[in-house]
Point group: C2
Chain length 471, copies 2
């Protein structure tokens, strides 16, 4: 009998196992050095939860947990770990243990783990893997980084065009099941699959059949009657970002990957694409925030060093803005109110520009901003900048007038605000579009160009107009 | 015979159909008002590509294309459209056409379309749908927004615990196939499915079986021998963000949704989760950039209005910073160099803080930053701020000293820089953590608090130290 109680409904705030206080219990058990209790707490956890736990622990605690896991190490934990943490875990586990884990994995997961190792570790681990599996991994490594070739799983289910549904099912039943641990050879099936690929004698894909369609079709029906020929073939060299876009647009769960000659060499499945989507998104959000990559788990000094470069560029642009201010030192000397008000103009331009920039960078990444609508979007954003500029000019103009009892000063700051917010709207779209055209990721450099422009224009126009009109 | 030539390999830069110049051709055909050519260009396109095309066209052109599509409107286009554009398309299509399209869709897609309509339109469309389908949709609408209940598809494949693999396959073959257009009733199968759910007599899920496992198991094997009981049951009220985290962590393609009593009421599939992941990503990146939502396709005035609020808050904080500067007007009057240099301190603090903030907000969204590691992360970020602060203090100190030939001024700006960058590191983590604890989305408000702090502290410490030490 099946034990129905096993699958209990998670209370809403406990959809993630780790949030049920287990994490806290583990930390306490580690502090008290209670090995037995630790084992009891960790063993029932799902491998994804073990991975989350390892990520959140400090380095010393993490090593302790790895030691507890070692005797019966679940290879799936490795695939789920953040890169920095995985590096630590691999160091602690040792080459033999890692090589053994890699052989258990599907080829795409194994590749995913091994491609992040440094060259020396990579060679050591590869040497510890038997020739068959090693060749598969080495072939995978020969494809460009972040390409479909790296993402795909080599194990695919292929059938010839002349089979029936019944023959296909019989073939699947007979094929070695990887999970049963039998040696599979050519017939090795992937751990999980969602589509069957029909290939011609040259091994070129002719169509795909979702498993659900196989299951509801009678045995005698030929596979050619139910296959979908309107499929997307992904060349091995396709960039992973483009792979994600195809999956997203077509609502795919798996897609065939082909070599230069159009022969089927593997398949990409949705779980890997979800990782790519997360990765690409993380890259965008981090780059916009001036961080090279998610460095949550990095050591303090590594993080300090990684962030230094971006700050240095910003120091240069800040000094540039100061030089612009310095041009007007005589003007500032005459009226200290200008020094008090000038950051407002620069800051509002920066904020308005960042709004525009964020929308444009995201739209470029999602391929929603294209040559077809670029001119329309630039025009719209410049107008939005102008309209908001006029409203904020009125607001700040009145504030400045009343604050310093000087109508001229109010007029000057209002004018400068309109100009700077219009420029911000224009720059917020044209900068990312120009960078994209030059082949530079617009998320990397857009914001530094933008704030340089809004600072320089903001200070120059405000102080320049003041020098012209107020004295 | 199957036509192998149908599935050609896309050249690498043409993974997206629309990039092959078709988009440009459509725009030209629209400009020249060539209806026949338009039809020829659009008809062979995949529904996802038609959706992208509609999104990129201006309003007038879009209406023209909708009219061309109308006679044979593919309901799947609606599900793929951006909300703003979908609103336009629905207006142009009319209630009858939309109601007809909704009946063709799986329940989750139909709900997705209808939940975005305004109340009046929603009622009109619902009235035009026959009672059976209408009830399903109305039930869906009764679940909270952004919950598992809204995401799930009502059509699921369930089987009793006492069946064998063979009985399951026979059942699937006999069941009405939705795609065949037959009336299905209780036995209606989803268009596509990836897992079969085994339920007890109370309709509570006992386990799941991936289709690939059914296919490789012999007919006589009881389903209870191959089912996975270690599954995640999602309560209908689970927030979609948590649904995405579960799918991501467990590499799921579908998951069962249960009501309060633990009975199976539907299933969520990965394609909907990918949309959620994109949506949540978009929300994070937009909110950090000070934009309520992706407004690429919104009208100029709507966008202007939507962005006004955020800019107004920023104006208030900029004025606050100016008030702080105003406290030191006498000091500024004595030395204009202070006015020239002061934006540098504020700007560097803002940039360093934004780096920290970005990492923290992202880590909170991904549930990587938790009570277990919060103290460690805060400490680390404060240290990173301090270390970089010391380095940039040395740099800017020397620059200021040489520029204005004033060693004291160099010392003052250096000191202010260390303080502000340390505060930025501290605020960059504590602000989002505090907002999260208060139940406020840290992406919304973090950056405005942060820049207020770095501006105020930057100006106050720099000008205050100058007033204390230089005169």
């Amino acid at each position: 009998m099946v034990d129905t109680d096993k699958a209990t409904v998670a209370p809403e705030d406990q959809v993630h196992d780790l949030e049920g206080g287990i994490e806290q219990d583990v930390v306490e058990a580690l502090a008290a050095d209670e090995q037995g209790r630790l084992r009891q707490l960790i063993e029932p956890l799902h491998h994804a939860d073990v991975a989350s736990l390892l990520e959140r622990l400090g380095a010393g605690d993490r090593d302790q947990v790895v030691d507890i896991l070692r005797p019966d190490f679940d290879h799936e934990i490795l695939a789920e770990l953040d890169e920095t943490v995985r590096d630590h875990v691999i160091d602690r586990l040792g080459v033999e243990e890692v090589a053994a884990a890699l052989q258990e994995m599907d080829s795409d997961d194994a590749l995913d783990v091994i491609e992040e190792l440094d060259d020396e570790e990579q060679q050591q681990v590869l040497d510890a893997i038997p020739a068959g599996d090693r060749t598969l991994i080495e072939e995978g490594l020969s494809y460009p980084e972040d390409s479909a070739g790296r993402l795909m799983q080599r194990e695919v289910v292929t059938i010839p065009t002349f089979w029936s549904v019944g023959e296909t099912i019989d073939f699947l039943r007979k094929s070695a099941d990887r999970e049963d641990g039998q040696a599979g050879g050519e017939n090795e099936l992937p751990t999980q699959f969602y589509d069957i690929f029909v290939v011609d004698p040259m091994h070129k894909p002719v169509g795909t059949i979702p498993l659900s369609r196989i299951l509801r079709t009678a045995r005698q029906v030929p596979v050619t009657d139910i296959l979908e020929t309107d499929m997307k073939l992904l060349p091995v060299t396709t960039d992973q970002e483009d792979v994600a876009i195809v999956f997203r647009q077509r609502n795919l769960v798996s897609a065939p990957v082909v070599d230069n000659a159009g022969r089927l060499v593997g398949a990409i499945t949705i779980d890997d694409v979800v990782d790519v989507i997360d990765e690409e998104h993380e890259e965008d959000i981090m780059l916009l925030g001036g961080v090279k990559e998610d460095d949550l788990y990095d050591a303090t000094l590594d993080t300090t060093r990684a962030r230094f470069g971006w700050l240095l560029i910003n120091l240069a642009t800040a000094i540039l803005a100061s030089i612009v201010i310095g041009l007007f030192d005589a003007t500032l000397d005459q009226m200290v109110a200008l020094a008090v008000l000038m950051p407002i103009v620069a800051s509002m331009g920066g904020n308005a520009g960042t709004q525009t920039l964020t929308v444009a960078v995201r739209a470029l990444a999602m391929k929603e901003l294209t040559p077809t609508n670029a001119a329309r979007v630039i025009g719209k954003e410049a107008l939005v900048g102008l309209f908001n500029g006029v409203m904020f000019a009125a607001l700040i103009g009145v504030v400045a007038w009343l604050w310093f009892d000087n109508l001229g000063l109010g007029a000057v700051i209002g004018l400068a605000m309109v100009v700077n917010m219009f420029v911000a709207g224009l720059a917020g779209t044209t900068i990312p579009l120009a960078l994209d055209k030059l082949g530079i990721d617009p998320a990397v450099a857009s914001s530094v160009f933008l704030t340089t422009i809004t600072d320089v224009v903001g200070f120059f126009v405000f102080l320049g107009l003041a020098a012209l009109l107020l004295f």
